[in-house]
Structures are given as structure tokens and as C-alpha cells.
């Protein structure tokens, strides 16, 4: 279930299909990536997708962070959802990698999430969000 969403458009009602099913000529607009899936397989179809759900079966498995960035770097603007073993202390990193909705398996405390997202005012590196890295602030 989507607990946190940082978008203003309507939630996609269509259930997401597996990458294989999607590539099999499906006309689906929502797809789910497992950690093993290559996010780049979706690049030709980004325009018609409204939801990409990235699975995190274990929080330690960080492949989904790269998947998210690759999708955003390639111009994907639809909903990018992290689903699974998503913990409060990961949300800020996930936001920076381009995720804008979260469906954690174990429900998270909204206050704790808000706090985690506002802990740091600045970032050191450019990522898939709009945060301006400090090197840019230092040099204008």
C-alpha cells in the first residue's frame, strides 16, 4: 500500500506487471522491476509508463537505487515507487535517487519520515533530485 506520495497527480489504478510481461507486447502502463531486472530495458517505453514500481525484497539490496537514477536520468517523469523492505532511514536517499512514492511493507511513522527528510539541509553530490550540491553553492 502506498503510504507516502510526493506527487500531485492521480494515483495509477492499473496493477503493475512484471518486466517480462511488459516487454511481451503488453500495453500496460505500470511495471514492476525486481532487483535482478535491467532498468534500461524500459528506456524505449518511458513515455507511455505512468508507474514504475521498484521492489526492495531486503533493505540491504541497494540495486533499486541505481535503477531509479537510471530511469530519472533517462527522462522518466511518471511515478517511481519503492515497494518492500523500505525503512525510515532510507527514504531520504531514495528521494534523492528519484523515488517519489513509497509502499513500505511495514508501516512507517509519518512524523519519523518527515524528520528523516528534513535532517540535512545540504548535500555533497548531485543526484536525481533538485537538491543543489554544496560545491555549486560554494562556486555559484
Amino acid at each position: 500500500m502506498v503510504e507516502f506520495r510526493y506527487r500531485s497527480d492521480e494515483v495509477t489504478e492499473q496493477p503493475s506487471v512484471t518486466l517480462d510481461a511488459f516487454l511481451d507486447q503488453s500495453n500496460a502502463t505500470a511495471v514492476r522491476l525486481e532487483p535482478d531486472d535491467d532498468a534500461r530495458a524500459l528506456l524505449p517505453f518511458l513515455d507511455r509508463l505512468t508507474l514504475i514500481e521498484v521492489a526492495f525484497p531486503k533493505y540491504r539490496d541497494g540495486r533499486g537505487y541505481s535503477a531509479a537514477r537510471i530511469l530519472r536520468e533517462s527522462g522518466y517523469r511518471g511515478e517511481l515507487r519503492a515497494q518492500g523492505d523500505v525503512l525510515v532511514d532510507q527514504i531520504a536517499f531514495m528521494r534523492r535517487c528519484g523515488f517519489d512514492s513509497f509502499a513500505p511493507e511495514a508501516s512507517l511513522n509519518p512524523e519519523a519520515v518527515a524528520r528523516a527528510l528534513s535532517t540535512y539541509d545540504h548535500v555533497y553530490q548531485k543526484a536525481a533530485d533538485t537538491a543543489v550540491p554544496v560545491w555549486k553553492l560554494r562556486h555559484g
Binding site: 537505487y65 536520468e73 535532517t119 560545491w135
Partner: protein
């Protein structure tokens, strides 16, 4: 030295507040140990055999006297009056109380220090050459680059849940004092046609499968470096193995797909990443570089008075040439005979801080061999520095000799250990306590790990000792022929293992074979490489 601006400081302060909150939630029972574990590990806090252990980052091993005094203060106030300097140029405290951890970090933050990313599957503290800025053979000072990498890797959103931990070393000299090619990424800064850039080595490491990093790119320009590293890490994050913790380091990925295939994938990823504008402008490197400007040298070159024989021995063994005439590099050995390698008491740490402030332009370095360096000492002050060290029992003249042993904490502290490392180091050092005997043996790097994880770099020892568990009894394997320097190599096991006293005897026999067979000024490792294992084996097992 680098100084934090308000951005750097705010980040570290926020981290302390965040961790304090996490600790409070743990103490209040709001989160379980299981949930707390990844959080504390992101802050360098391990649970060991007897207590919590806190690892504090010393970025690229560089610190000033104020920071050094803070390390002493922490040892005095929160630990048992000593700290342990590690092979990754950090410091560890072995007896930390969870309730005090946030206070410690808060105190550290007041002197621009932290424990961020000193554990966990992220990019760890960047290591470098302890002689940076002082070495005659350096192409440039590697520390500004290390600082640039520190900032880039701090809270990197994509690379905080890598398959395994990730260690980067940066050097800028042909002589490798940082075991650069035994890191996940090793960078050697070079100048090509006047342009500064880096040779990039990827996939080195120790642990249970030691590997020397192959060269993945002979030259990456300065302004492409972060994009290139980002590409290196991304390929690893996507394709590194996650099914088996023992096969999760990047060295295994590169071993399995081959350096050529990895290089190809990185090149492809780099072509994409380079379009994203993630490289800071060169102005940022220049800003950082300005902090590392040469100190205001003012001493003239003098002949050092060698009339005190103890001083003369120390001078020959522990003092190295400097790029600036009139100056020298002083190595402080943390390997007193019979002591614990890398340990220093609060009082000793304070003495080193005082000497640095007075005689070394306020700077110190930690070395991967668990020693300390005063990088900028005027030759005219060498005798005074030596006297100060001697009075604090810090003047052991054994740099790079057989008693300058690297040893991990082993079974005395570590929950993963098979065997004790510290007593073996103490016995070997004691056996070879005679200085003339040690000096006659010359450079001999002996390194001890208490288990296959190789925290004590045994694979890179001219002589390596590995603690194994043999049916519940501590047992030690010997390896010969390793090196972590520019002649990098991995040691080979010489035969069946020994008990604690047996391994000390075997080491002694090996040194006798060396003495009998050496030619000219060959070091132990040179003789071993020339004659091979047989004569050693015969003497030890025959």
C-alpha cells in the same frame, strides 16, 4: 589542512543529532537491536566481544593537534585511557558505552571529526599516503583529491547499500606507501603531457580472497574523475554479487567477468554519467587545494649532530628525507617491544599533539602500518623532538623492521576472531628485541590477522601470520612473499600451521635462512623471491 566551512559543519552536526535520536530510541526500546544495527553501523559503532567499539574516521590519516588532543580526551573520558590506530588510518575505541556514544560524537564534531561511514556497506574513509605534501617523489599532493572524494562519497544516495564495503586509496607517488592496489579502488595521480589525472585500479582487496587490483584505466583526467568513479561504482552496485557475503566485494565481480568486460561496462556507463554534470568545477578542487598549501618553511639546512648514539639509531631508522631542504619526516613508532601494535595512551597522544603543534606545523598523520608521522619537522629540531618522544616511550627506532608489526585486535577483542593476534606480535617483538639484530635483518614487514578477514594485512606481509581455528585450538599459518608496496604481491602459505610458540620459532628460523642466503643489500623479501620457498621450508619443517 582542510577546514570545514558552514556546510561541512552543519552536515556533521546534523548527523550527531540524528544518531542521538536513534540511540535514544534504542535505549527506550522503541527499536530493536536488529533495526538499530544498520543505523549504528553507519556510525562506526560495532558490538564486540566485551563492549561496543567505536571507529572514528581520520580522513586520509591527516589531523592537527587540536583533533589529536580530542582523541586523547575521548580515550581518557569515555574509554580506558587508550586508543587503537588502525590499518585504515583511523582510530578505534574498544570500551564504549552506548549511552555515551552521542556525546562522544558531539565532542568530535567540535573539532571537525566524525565516525560517518567507518562501517557498513558504503564507501569508507578514503586512505592516502602518510607522507603526502612532504614526499620528494610526489607528483602532486593527493590530499585535496582525497578530500574531494570524501565529500562526494559522504551520504552518497546511490551507494549507501552496496553489495559490500568499499575502500578507496589515493596516492601520487611511484612509491606506494598506502597499499593502493589492495583497495577496491586505487588511484595513482599522474601527470600526462602536463595534464593531471589518475591511473585507476579496481578490484583489489584482502579478506579471504586476496587480489591485486588490475588497471582499469591508464589515465582519467581530473575533471572526469568523479563521473568515472560514479560509473565504476554503479556497475558494481548493479552487478556485484549479493547472494553470498563472501563473494560480494568488487574484486569478485571483476574476477568473474574479467577486467576487460568490467572496463567496457564502465566506459559505457561513463559515457552516460558524464552527461549529467556531476563533476564539481575545477574551482572546487582549487578551493580545497588552497587548504593544503605548503607550510611557511623557514629553517635552513643543517647537519644533524649525531653524537647521542640512541638518537643516531632513531635518526637512521625513523626519519625520512623531505622535499624541502632543512626539513625531515619523522615516524613515531607505536610498536614498543612487547606492546600492543597501534595502541597509544591518552598521555602519549597528547605528547604527539604537543610535538606536532610545536615542531611540525601543527600536523600529524596516521599510517596504514599503525604508526604516526610528523610530516614537517625542521632538522634543527630533530633532537628536541626525539627527546620528547623518548620521555613518552615513543622513540622506538624500529620503523619497517621485524618488530614494526601490523596486528589486528584478534581474539582479545574481536567477535569474528579464530585466534589471538596481539600476544603473537608481542612474542615476536620480544624475541627480536635486540636492536642490532633487528637492524641487521633490515626491512621486514610482518603482519598478523586473527582470522581470514585479514584486517591485519597478513596477505601483504613479507611474512604474514594468519590465525585459524584448528579443532578448537588456536593455530597459526605462515605466509611468505606478500607486499603492499609498489612491488605488490600476495603471500603464499608455506605449509602446515603452528601453535603460538611454534610460529615464533618458525619466524626466527626464516630469518636465519635469509641471513645465510642474502646477497648484497637484499631485503628478506628479495631473497625469498630469488631463492624461492624450498630453503625456508627445509629449515622450518625439515
Amino acid at each position: 589542512m582542510y577546514k570545514y566551512d558552514h556546510y561541512d559543519q552543519a552536515l556533521v552536526d546534523a548527523r550527531v543529532a540524528e544518531f542521538r535520536d536513534q540511540i535514544n530510541r534504542r535505549i527506550a526500546g522503541e527499536i530493536t537491536e536488529d533495526q538499530f544495527k544498520p543505523l549504528r553501523l553507519m556510525n562506526g559503532l560495532y558490538l564486540q566481544l566485551h563492549a561496543y567499539m567505536l571507529r572514528v574516521a581520520i580522513p586520509y590519516g591527516t589531523l592537527d593537534s587540536r583533533q589529536m588532543r580530542m582523541l586523547a580526551h575521548i580515550a581518557r573520558k569515555y574509554d580506558r585511557d587508550y586508543g587503537h590506530f588502525t590499518t585504515r588510518q583511523n582510530i578505534q575505541y574498544n570500551w564504549i558505552k552506548l549511552e555515551e556514544c552521542a556525546d562522544i560524537l558531539e565532542e568530535l564534531a567540535t573539532v571537525e571529526m566524525h565516525a560517518i561511514q567507518t562501517s557498513g556497506n558504503c564507501i569508507r574513509n578514503i586512505s592516502s599516503d602518510q607522507y603526502a605534501g612532504a614526499a620528494a617523489d610526489e607528483v602532486t599532493d593527493p590530499r585535496p583529491w582525497a578530500e574531494l572524494l570524501r565529500q562526494w562519497s559522504t551520504f552518497h544516495p546511490e551507494f549507501s547499500y552496496l553489495p559490500r564495503k568499499f575502500k578507496i586509496a589515493v596516492i601520487a607517488s611511484p612509491e606506494d606507501r598506502a597499499a593502493m592496489r589492495l583497495h577496491d579502488i586505487g588511484l595513482e595521480l599522474i601527470r600526462q603531457d602536463g595534464v593531471l589525472g589518475a591511473r585507476v585500479f579496481v578490484g583489489g582487496g584482502m579478506g579471504r580472497t586476496p587480489m591485486i587490483a588490475p588497471e582499469i584505466n591508464p589515465f582519467v583526467k581530473a575533471d572526469d574523475l568523479l563521473s568515472y568513479l560514479e560509473a565504476c561504482l554503479r556497475v558494481y552496485n548493479r552487478y556485484g554479487r549479493r547472494d553470498n557475503i563472501y563473494k560480494a566485494r568488487i574484486k569478485i565481480l571483476i574476477h568473474e567477468i574479467g577486467a576487460d568486460e568490467y572496463r567496457r561496462q564502465v566506459a559505457e556507463e561513463f559515457a552516460h554519467v558524464k552527461t549529467l554534470g556531476i563533476d564539481p568545477p575545477l574551482a572546487e578542487l582549487e578551493r580545497i587545494t588552497a587548504f593544503f598549501a605548503a607550510p611557511a618553511y623557514d629553517a635552513v639546512d643543517v647537519e644533524t649532530d649525531r653524537s647521542d648514539p640512541d638518537f643516531a639509531v632513531w635518526l637512521d631508522q625513523n626519519v625520512k628525507p623531505h622535499k624541502q631542504a632543512g626539513y625531515a619526516i619523522v615516524n613515531i613508532s607505536l610498536k614498543p617491544i612487547g606492546g600492543i601494535p597501534g595502541d597509544a595512551t591518552s598521555a602519549q597522544i597528547d605528547v604527539m599533539a604537543d610535538l606536532a603543534e610545536r615542531y611540525s606545523f601543527d600536523e600529524l598523520r596516521v599510517t596504514h602500518a599503525q604508526n604516526i608521522v610528523l610530516p614537517y619537522v625542521a632538522k634543527r629540531d630533530l633532537y628536541a623532538v626525539w627527546q620528547g618522544l623518548r620521555d613518552a616511550e615513543l622513540a622506538d627506532a624500529n620503523l619497517d623492521l621485524i618488530s614494526d608489526i601490523i596486528a589486528c585486535p584478534g581474539l582479545d577483542y574481536c567477535s569474528l576472531a579464530n585466534a589471538r593476534s596481539i600476544p603473537v606480535a608481542q612474542k615476536i617483538a620480544t624475541r627480536f628485541a635486540d636492536m642490532d639484530r633487528q637492524r641487521d635483518l633490515g626491512e621486514l614487514k610482518l603482519k598478523i590477522s586473527g582470522c581470514i578477514n585479514a584486517c591485519g594485512h597478513h596477505h601483504a606481509g613479507h611474512i604474514g601470520i594468519l590465525g585459524v581455528d584448528k579443532k578448537g585450538v588456536e593455530n597459526y599459518q605462515l605466509t611468505f612473499g606478500g607486499s603492499g608496496a609498489e612491488d605488490v604481491s600476495i603471500g603464499k602459505i608455506i605449509g602446515p600451521g603452528f601453535d603460538e610458540d611454534g610460529v615464533v620459532d618458525a619466524v626466527e628460523k626464516a630469518t636465519e635462512v635469509y641471513k645465510a642466503l642474502r646477497q648484497g643489500d637484499e631485503r628478506f623479501i628479495d631473497t625469498y623471491r630469488r631463492v624461492g620457498l624450498e630453503p625456508f621450508k627445509e629449515a622450518i619443517y625439515g
